[in-house]
Structures are given as structure tokens and as C-alpha cells.
């Protein structure tokens, strides 16, 4: 496979220039950076698994990353958290033949790093070891995946740990904020928004884990291997591991929204005795169906100007000029399974929370009505283009991106032409993107803070928050049961 290639084009040749008095006067060669084509190293093996293999012999190490269907969207009713628990105990709970202790000893002896995890739509496992023992490690790794023991004692430990985690749910205002915001915009049963409780975790049994494990199957999954390996041999080895997988995949795919949730725009307040209010405002966007749609790149540039970059408008207006907030940013979260979201987020003192919210909405409106300046546009594009190579700094980093692409169906041409597409974005396209994808009037605004203070200062400054929608007070919830806490 071709490696990432980087070339520097020197304009000044061999002429020795004097040292300029200020770095502004320095001239730099152009940085040319090209990516390898992942199609050259992608193979389709048994069960339609995509296998990406990249040889890199600079160090005697191998990394293997596995992405299979089977995320928390498969959690059964009343057992939210099962996917997470299955992944955890798969790693710590031993295998059919090995006790958990024996498994740990063996992994340690081979100096292997092995881990497992899930997100809303996928199951993931990772292996890193010396190439000299890769075969043994691969064996152990697939034993863990194909013949887990889910040791009862280890399951107990992991359940206790998870419940301990739940206890801290209300400690950070952000965790309350995101829980409520997700519930409001996605609906409580949506895979992106679902929350577990102590009772649900306690109800999970070893048998549940085995049942869930049966749903984690290789069909249409992705495996990526990078490092000191012989590509031709590895293909066979992995194909063999896959061919006799114990379960077959008749798992529901793709993850989907069960019911169409209609979020009601407005302001939602959760009372918490804290000096600063955490605020999130935003709404659902669109389901990503065509990654190459030019509007995606216009969105990227638009968001860089609005609230993504170091010198963004939100950052400058709310943070630098007014000194009202610290972490101010806006993001677009894309998804290929359901409509994504646009979110603007900040934290501000209770006294200034309403005012900062007003500024935020103003900036969103301005993005829709006014043209961006050519200076802003140029700086935003330059910033995105300059940072682009960092994402692919090493071959491993690049392969990880490509593996993700394969899983979600993002074509290579997205990255191949990324910088060109960004370069082509015009001021008009930015304005159109803002009009198409930012809707202040549809926004769900959640505030976690001390309402009496927020309200008092809003009135003092003559800000009527109701102009942004009706105000609803939501209860704080018990971290273990999620039942409203009586205040």
C-alpha cells in the first residue's frame, strides 16, 4: 500500500535569506499532503467483513481494531446498560477454558493490551501486542470474543462499579444538562438518549449477557490491522477466526428511531443550587445520506466561523468581549442512522445566563441574515485546511479513520477532496447553510442553574426569556432511580 506522502515545495530554492525582523515576514514552502487510498488495502472476507490491512514495519508492533454491529440500541426494555455490561465483563470475565485470573495472567505474559467497549450503534474491541506473539494474542483475543465465560464474580464487581458511577450523575451540571437535552430532542427511548437505573442494572443476569453476546456477530463488520505484519498471511488467519463464529447475525440493522419524537421548542429549566448556569441550545438536523453533498462542507466552514474555531464569533462575543462564559462552542453531530443535532453550549454565572443566552440567539440569527466577511471566510477555511493533516498524522491514525468510514459508509472521496471542497465554500453557501440548518425558533434551550437568580437578573436587564419560547420547569431526578426528587 502506498503510504501517506508529504512533500514540501520550496519557492526560494537555495538562496540564503537574511533573518527577518518579525516572523510575519517569513515565507514558507507549500505543504503537500496526500492520503493513501483505503480501497487498495480493503478486502471483503467471509460474512461480508471488511478487512483493512496496512503493513508498517517501522516497529515490531501490531494494532487490531474491530467494529461490529451490536450497540446499546439493542438493549432490551428494562435492561438498559446491558450492552455496556456485556462489553466490560467480556474483557474481565475469562473464557470458556480460562478463569478470569488465568486470562489476565496470559494477557500480561504476552504483554498484550486488550479492551472492549460499546456505543449506541456498535461493539468494539481492540488488541495491541508485539508482532512476534501476534498469533497467540489473536487466538486469545478471539477466544474472548467467541467463548466468553462472563464469570459471575466479575459480573458482580462490574455491576457494583456501574452503580457507583450512577451515583455521580447529578454531580456535574453538564451531566444533568445533556441527559435532559437529549431526552427533550430525541425522546427518552432513543438510543442516543436512553438512561439506565440501579434497578435495571441489578436485574441483569449472567444469562442476559450471554443472550446479548449472541447478537454481537461479524456480519458486515470491520476489522483493521496496522503494523508489523505480512498482509497476505494475516488475511487468512482472520478469515479463519471469522468463519466459525458461534452465532449468526440476524440482528436488527440499521439502528433506527422507534417513534418519531417531536420536540417542543422553548426554555427548560432544572433547578440546581450552583453559582453558574449550564446552557445548551439546539435542535435535530438531518440524517446523513450523502457525505459528498457540498452543503456538508459549507456547514463545516459555517460552524468554524460561528462557534467551532479559536476565533469564532461565539467565542469572541460571549467569551472575549463580554467575559460572560468560559467554554463556548457550537457543533454539528452527524449520524447516518437518524437525524443528527446542532448544539450551541456555554456556562455562565446565574446573573449573566439570560444575557448570554440572548447574545447566543442573536449570533445564530446574524449567521442567517448577514454575510460573513471575506476575511472571516478565508481564516476559517485556512484553519480547517491547516489542521486537516493532523487527523492523519500517522498511518495508524489514517487506518482508524478509514475503518470508521467503512462501518458508517463514508466514501474515501470525502477525505480525498475534503480540502478542495472546503476551499470552494463561498460566503453565499455559508449563509445558505446557516439558513438551512440553524433554526433558533426551533431550539430546545435547557438551563441548569439557580432559577431565582437567573430570573431576577434577566428582569433587571430587561431580558424577557419568553421571547425564545415558553418556560417549563423540570424536576431534578434521583441519580439511581431517575424519579423526580421532591424539592
Amino acid at each position: 500500500m502506498k503510504k501517506i506522502t508529504v512533500t514540501l515545495l520550496f519557492l526560494t530554492g537555495g538562496i540564503v535569506m537574511a533573518i527577518p525582523p518579525h516572523p510575519q515576514k517569513l515565507e514558507f514552502p507549500e505543504l503537500q499532503f496526500s492520503l493513501p487510498n483505503p480501497d487498495d488495502i480493503t478486502y471483503t472476507i467471509d460474512k461480508n467483513v471488511s478487512l483493512l490491512i496496512a503493513e508498517d514495519h517501522s516497529l515490531p508492533l501490531v494494532h487490531l481494531s474491530l467494529i461490529f454491529r451490536g450497540g446499546s440500541y439493542l438493549d432490551p426494555e428494562g435492561k438498559t446498560g446491558l450492552a455496556t455490561l456485556t462489553a466490560k465483563v467480556m474483557r474481565t470475565g475469562g473464557t470458556k477454558k480460562l478463569t478470569p485470573e488465568e486470562f489476565d495472567e496470559k494477557a500480561d505474559f504476552l504483554a498484550a493490551n486488550i479492551s472492549t467497549s460499546v456505543d449506541s450503534s456498535s461493539f468494539r474491541a481492540y488488541l495491541n501486542c508485539l508482532s512476534s506473539v501476534f498469533d497467540e494474542c489473536l487466538e486469545l483475543f478471539f477466544k474472548m470474543l467467541k467463548e466468553p465465560r462472563f464469570d459471575k464474580e466479575r459480573l458482580k464487581i462490574e455491576k457494583t462499579k456501574m452503580i457507583e458511577e450512577l451515583k455521580q450523575r447529578n454531580d456535574h451540571p453538564q451531566s444533568i444538562l445533556w441527559r435532559e437535552w437529549n431526552w427533550l430532542v430525541y425522546g427518552k427511548s432513543h438510543p442516543e438518549a436512553r438512561q439506565t437505573t440501579k434497578a435495571e442494572i441489578e436485574s441483569i443476569t449472567q444469562n442476559d449477557l450471554f443472550e446479548f453476546w449472541k447478537k454481537i456477530t461479524p456480519e458486515n463488520g470491520v476489522i483493521a490491522v496496522v503494523g508489523d505484519i505480512d498482509a497476505s498471511k494475516i488475511k487468512e488467519k482472520i478469515a479463519k477466526m471469522i468463519s466459525d463464529w458461534p452465532n449468526s447475525g440476524n440482528v436488527k440493522w440499521p439502528p433506527e428511531e422507534k417513534t418519531k419524537h417531536l420536540s417542543k421548542p422553548g426554555i427548560y429549566v432544572i433547578e440546581k443550587e450552583i453559582p453558574q448556569t449550564a446552557v445548551a441550545a439546539g435542535h435535530r438536523t438531518f440524517k446523513m445520506e450523502n457525505w459528498l453533498d457540498k452543503s456538508n462542507f459549507a456547514i463545516t466552514v459555517m460552524n468554524e466561523i460561528l462557534g467551532g474555531g479559536f476565533n469564532s464569533r461565539l467565542f469572541t462575543r460571549i467569551r472575549s468581549d463580554e467575559g460572560l462564559a468560559y467554554a463556548v462552542r457550537s457543533i454539528f453531530r452527524h449520524s447516518v442512522y437518524w437525524p443528527g443535532t446542532f448544539i450551541a453550549f456555554f456556562q455562565s454565572k446565574n446573573e449573566t445566563a439570560a444575557y448570554a443566552t440572548k447574545l447566543l440567539i442573536e449570533e445564530l440569527e446574524k449567521m442567517r441574515t448577514d454575510n460573513v466577511t471575506s476575511k472571516e471566510l478565508k481564516a476559517a477555511k485556512q484553519g480547517i485546511i491547516d489542521r486537516f493533516p493532523q487527523r492523519f498524522e500517522t498511518l495508524k491514525a489514517a487506518i482508524w479513520v478509514f475503518a470508521e468510514d467503512k462501518f458508517i459508509g463514508r466514501p474515501f472521496s470525502f477525505w480525498k477532496n475534503y480540502r478542495n471542497y472546503i476551499e470552494e465554500v463561498t460566503a453565499d453557501a455559508v449563509k445558505k447553510a446557516a439558513n438551512d440548518f440553524i433554526h433558533p425558533e426551533k431550539s430546545v434551550i435547557v438551563m441548569v442553574g439557580k432559577w431565582s437568580e437567573i430570573d431576577k437578573w434577566a428582569k433587571d436587564k430587561n431580558i424577557d426569556l419568553r421571547q425564545f419560547g415558553p418556560i417549563t420547569h423540570l424536576p431534578l431526578r434521583d441519580p439511581l432511580t431517575l424519579e423526580p426528587v421532591k424539592q
Partner: protein
């Protein structure tokens, strides 16, 4: 002309074997090649360069190390090495200023004021010696003149601030697409690091030679206060933090390691610009500096630029060495402290310097004890169930070293029980050689880690900076090989020789009555113990920090590291980020 002396360190052979493996783990003997080509050259003024060319990278990770740390200080100027780390970000004659000439005259005025202020502080100390006042730096005890001078100074400082462009140096780098801009000071070295896009090589040369050639120590005196705050943060931030300085001072008898890198508060109040300049001229001379570049560059171009930019620096005639040796410890030392903490122990032993031949055996020993299958965790946590965490580490510095054991109690157990259990492990290590299999397990890990640590180009640069600062960057290449040569006899030998009673300091910590234990989120408590405590310390430190700017700096540097965070600590890293955000917000709202 540049004198070029290439050192080709291309090949180190490491053998990974499963000797004596009793079960069916067939790890076949394989010859492993360590491919790291480090080229070196030295400028006529003595400045050294280490280059690792990686043509496939779009970046250059660059750093330099000044071979100076707190060990180069003396009582009276402690904290100066670290103060420089702060000063180096303040700009130069053309960067960070609206009008340097105006600034210069204000700085002279400031210096005159400080001269008189120091005289008055000297009188304050006399009053203190006589017992007239309890604290010479308590503003309530200041004579009228001192109060007035300090107020005048503050006024002048305000005027000065108007001429300063804040963070100008950082801004130039940021706008050029740089990341990871940072610096650090230890007992032995001071390092300055950054990552720039590969086409911005010359910018790095311009900026770094500029701040070495034309530094302006603007805000010197106000920065002393910032450092004071940082000191408070470090010592008060963790439950046992306030004892750290005490322990170090009690552990080291004669060596300059006895004072903290951050310096003593009474010195920080007094250090003058003149002392700083003298220190700078000697220790920031090119013949005391090594630069490291890892990434995509042309070697000839680097040499040309090095000569052009850094060649302008003047060599120092003499660089003072650290000559004081640590005295052998003659008696067992014990410390008892009370804190708002889980009861715990910290055990320290005097060992060997970084470049010492026995150092690799200590690395192996630490690995034998660590991890979920290591002896400390297995015995104290799993079997005896008296500890919630237990780990060890080897801490070799440039001129001397220590080996450290730490453990926290669980439920009703006591720190004494932890120490006794450790003594049992220690006795066993002295009497019985470790098994071949156990030793091989450790070696396998060390071998794998010796490669893993070379994978990330930024980390590679950072390690070259660090190890050169400790006396030998080649450690990075030889580590795996040296560790693989360690025998079970070597382990027994070093345990018997260094881990003796009269070479021990033990700190026992008990919970102060009425104090609550702190809880940490699961993403922290699930980390391996040795990383865990690092994160806990950081979280505590952030919670206790009161300087918003300091936190913002930490935050920015965290953001810069984002791309380099290994997946296993990603969650913990996010928590750290959030904690800082919250804390900053809290401070902003005060």
C-alpha cells in the same frame, strides 16, 4: 561551518523469549529490530541537535532542553529555574510589546523600586529574628514606606501592562497551525516543546532563537506571585500534598534535591532580576542546550537554519556543575501525618542515578510489583484485602534516585498493616529468587513498552528532550535491551543492597477526624493504579486551584494534547477537561 558528527544508532537487537514457560504459551524466540535513526550534530557554540527524520509526517515535533533544574540553584534563589520557564513565554523585544523603548524605561523604574523594597524586606527579616513579628511577609506588619512602595509598584505595573500584548508569542504559533505549545521544569532540566506543520520549520527556528537571544523578562515580579500561587496549588491541592515538601526535605540530606522545584516562598519574594539575568546567561547558553526535532524536514536545511538562527547565541565560558553528593543514610526515618485522606503509606528508598548500571533492575522490580497481576496488587488488594490500591515506581533523577511504594487502606485496615504486608513481600524477594516465568512476563511487557513508546512522534520528541536532560537520550534505544539482560540474581542483589531498613523513609498518613473521603468518577477509578493516582492528583489540584488564568493555561495545553491521548485514558482525559471547565466557570462567578 557546522561540525557534524553523525551517530548512527540504527540497530538494537532485542530477544523476546519465553524461557521456562511452564504452560503452553509458546512465544517463539524472535529477533526484533529497533528502527530509530537519530542523527546528531553540534554547532560551534556548543548547541547540540538530535534529529529523527520522518518523511511521512505532515508535522514537525520540536523541543529543546536547557540542562538546568532546581538542583542547579542554591538557598536564596530556589525556584529560579522554574520561574524561567514562565518568563520564556513573555515575549521578546519585538514580540509581546506595543513599544519596547517605553517598556524599558518603566522596567528600569520598577527595578529601582524593587531595590528599595528588598532593603525593607531585609529589615522585616531582622524584626522577625528578634521576635517582633511572626511573619515578615504579613502585609499587616509592613512599615508605611513598604506599603507605599508596593502600591507605587502596582501603579507602575498597571502602566506597564498597557504596553504589553498578552500571549503574543503563543498567538503567532497558534495562527501558524501549531499545537502542543508547552514547557516543563524538573529538578534536573527545563524543556520547551511544540508541534508545527512541516512547512513551518523556519518559524520554529525564528521563534525559539528569538526568545533565547532577545528575551524580555517583562512581568518578572508579577510572575513571582503567579508562581507563589502555583506553589500553593501544588502543596495544598492534594490531601497529602502539604507533606510532599517535608518528605523530600527529610529524605535528601545533602543533595540540592531537598528543596522543591517551585522554590521556598521566602526566596521567591526576594529573587531579583539581576540574579535572574546571571542565572540565565550561564544556564541558557547554547553549550547547555540540546534541541530535538522529530518529523518531516530536510536534514541539510535544518543544519543551515540551525547555524543561521542559533549560531547567533554566545557560548558561556563556564557552566557550573552540581557537585554535592547525597550522604549515605544512616538511620531509618519515619513520618506521621494527618490529612483529609484515605489512610495510606509512602515508602522511599535511596537508589541510583538515571545512568547507573543498576537502574534497569529497578525498572524490572517496579514491573514485578505493579499491575493487576503484580505482587503488590495481588497480595495487598486481592489476597489480604487490606488495600484499595498499591503500586511502586522507580524514580531515578540525574544525580541520585529513589524507589517508592505507595498504598491506600481499605475499609478498617491500617497504614501499619500495609507496611507490614510490604515487608513480607520484600523479605520474600530477598530470600527467594523470582520465578523464570514471572521475570519473563515483566520483560515481555518492558520489551513491548520499549517499542510502544516510540510509536507516537510527539511522545518520541518529548522523551528525547527528557532523557537528554537526564544525561543520556540513548536510554530510549537501550532501555528494552538493558532490561532484558536483568537476571533474577540482579533483582535479589539490588533488593538486598538498597531496600534496607536504614535506607528507608516511611510516611504514615492517618485520616484527620471528621474528614470525609473524596469520591472519584468510575472512569478514574477504573484506570491502572499508577495512572489513577496521577489523575486523582490532577483532579484535586484543579478543584483547589483559585487562579483562573493558570487553569486556562492548563486547559489550553490539554486541548493541544487531545490528539495524542491513548484510547484507554480518553474518558479520564475528558473528565479532566470538564472538571477544569467547571472550575474556571466557578471562579469566574465569584
Amino acid at each position: 561551518m557546522i561540525r557534524v558528527g553523525y551517530i548512527m544508532v540504527g540497530i538494537t537487537l532485542i530477544t523476546l523469549k519465553a524461557q521456562g514457560a511452564t504452560e503452553a504459551v509458546s512465544v517463539s524466540p524472535t529477533q526484533l529490530k529497533l528502527n530509530l535513526d537519530v542523527k546528531t550534530f553540534t554547532l560551534p557554540n556548543g548547541m547540540r541537535f538530535l534529529l529523527v527524520q520522518k518523511k511521512e509526517l505532515p508535522m514537525i515535533h520540536a523541543g529543546w532542553v536547557a540542562h538546568v533544574g532546581s538542583a542547579n540553584e542554591r538557598p536564596g534563589i530556589t525556584g529560579l529555574a522554574h520561574l524561567f520557564e514562565h518568563m520564556m513565554f513573555k515575549g521578546t523585544k519585538v514580540i509581546g510589546t506595543k513599544d519596547y523603548e517605553k517598556e524599558k524605561s518603566i522596567m528600569e523604574e520598577k527595578e529601582n523600586l524593587q531595590e528599595r523594597i528588598r532593603e525593607l524586606y531585609s529589615q522585616q527579616r531582622q524584626r522577625y529574628y528578634k521576635g517582633e513579628i511572626e511573619d515578615p511577609f504579613d502585609p499587616d506588619t509592613y512599615p508605611q514606606e513598604l506599603k507605599q512602595l508596593l502600591a507605587e509598584f502596582e501603579e507602575l505595573d498597571k502602566k506597564h501592562k498597557e504596553l504589553i500584548i498578552k500571549d503574543d508569542f503563543t498567538r503567532i504559533y497558534k495562527e501558524a497551525g501549531a499545537a502542543n505549545f508547552n514547557a516543563f521544569t524538573t529538578y534536573d532540566l527545563t524543556g520547551y516543546i511544540i508541534s508545527v506543520p512541516a512547512n513551518k520549520l523556519e518559524l520554529w527556528f525564528w521563534m525559539e532563537s528569538e526568545r533565547l537571544l532577545n528575551p524580555v523578562f517583562r512581568e518578572f515580579y508579577t510572575e513571582r506571585d503567579v508562581v507563589q500561587e502555583e506553589r500553593r496549588l501544588r502543596t495544598e491541592s492534594t490531601p497529602t500534598g502539604k507533606f510532599d515538601e517535608l518528605i523530600e526535605a527529610a529524605f535528601w540530606q545533602s543533595h540540592p534535591y531537598k528543596w522543591p522545584v517551585i522554590g521556598w516562598p521566602s526566596d521567591l519574594k526576594i529573587i531579583s532580576m539581576k540574579q535572574a539575568q546571571k542565572f540565565y546567561d550561564m544556564y541558557y547558553a547554547p553549550n547547555n542546550i540540546t534541541a530535538v526535532l522529530v518529523g518531516n524536514f530536510d536534514i541539510e536545511k535544518v543544519k543551515e537554519l540551525a547555524d543561521k538562527y542559533f549560531g547567533r547565541l554566545k557560548k558561556a565560558d563556564e557552566i557550573e556543575e552540581v557537585v554535592t553528593l547525597e550522604m549515605p543514610q544512616l538511620a531509618y526515618k519515619e513520618i506521621e501525618g494527618e490529612c483529609d485522606c484515605q489512610p495510606q503509606i509512602k515508602v522511599m528508598y535511596h537508589t541510583v542515578p538515571f545512568i547507573h548500571k543498576d537502574a534497569p533492575a529497578f525498572e524490572v522490580l517496579a514491573e514485578l510489583l505493579n499491575g493487576y497481576t503484580g505482587r503488590l496488587y495481588k497480595t495487598l488488594v486481592l489476597e489480604k484485602k487490606i488495600a484499595s490500591s498499591a503500586f511502586s515506581y522507580n524514580y531515578p533523577r540525574k544525580y541520585a534516585g529513589s524507589f517508592i511504594i505507595q498504598a491506600e487502606t481499605s475499609k478498617e485496615s491500617t497504614p501499619k498493616e500495609l507496611y507490614e504486608a510490604w515487608q513480607e513481600i520484600l523479605e520474600d524477594l530477598k530470600e527467594n529468587p523470582v520465578s523464570d516465568k514471572e521475570l519473563q512476563k515483566v520483560k515481555n511487557k518492558v520489551t513491548a513498552d520499549s517499542f510502544r513508546r516510540l510509536e507516537n512522534p510527539f511522545m518520541l520528541m518529548l522523551q528525547l528532550v527528557y532523557y537528554d536532560g537526564l544525561g543520556d537520550w540513548k536510554y530510549l534505544l537501550e532501555w528494552g535491551e538493558r532490561v532484558n539482560k536483568v537476571t533474577k540474581e540482579d533483582i535479589q542483589k539490588i533488593v538486598k543492597k538498597y531496600l534496607t531498613k536504614e535506607n528507608t523513609l516511611v510516611a504514615f498518613y492517618y485520616r484527620k477526624k471528621d474528614s470525609e473521603s473524596r469520591e472519584y468518577p468510575a472512569e478514574i477509578t477504573e484506570l491502572p493504579p499508577e495512572i489513577q493516582s496521577h489523575f486523582k492528583r490532577q483532579l484535586d489540584a484543579i478543584q483547589n486551584e483559585t487562579d483562573k488564568e493558570k487553569l486556562e493555561k492548563i486547559y489550553t495545553s490539554l486541548l493541544a494534547q487531545e490528539g495524542n491521548i491513548p484510547p484507554e485514558i480518553q474518558k479520564a482525559f475528558e473528565t479532566l477537561k470538564k472538571t477544569i471547565e467547571n472550575r474556571i466557570q466557578e471562579l469566574e462567578n465569584r
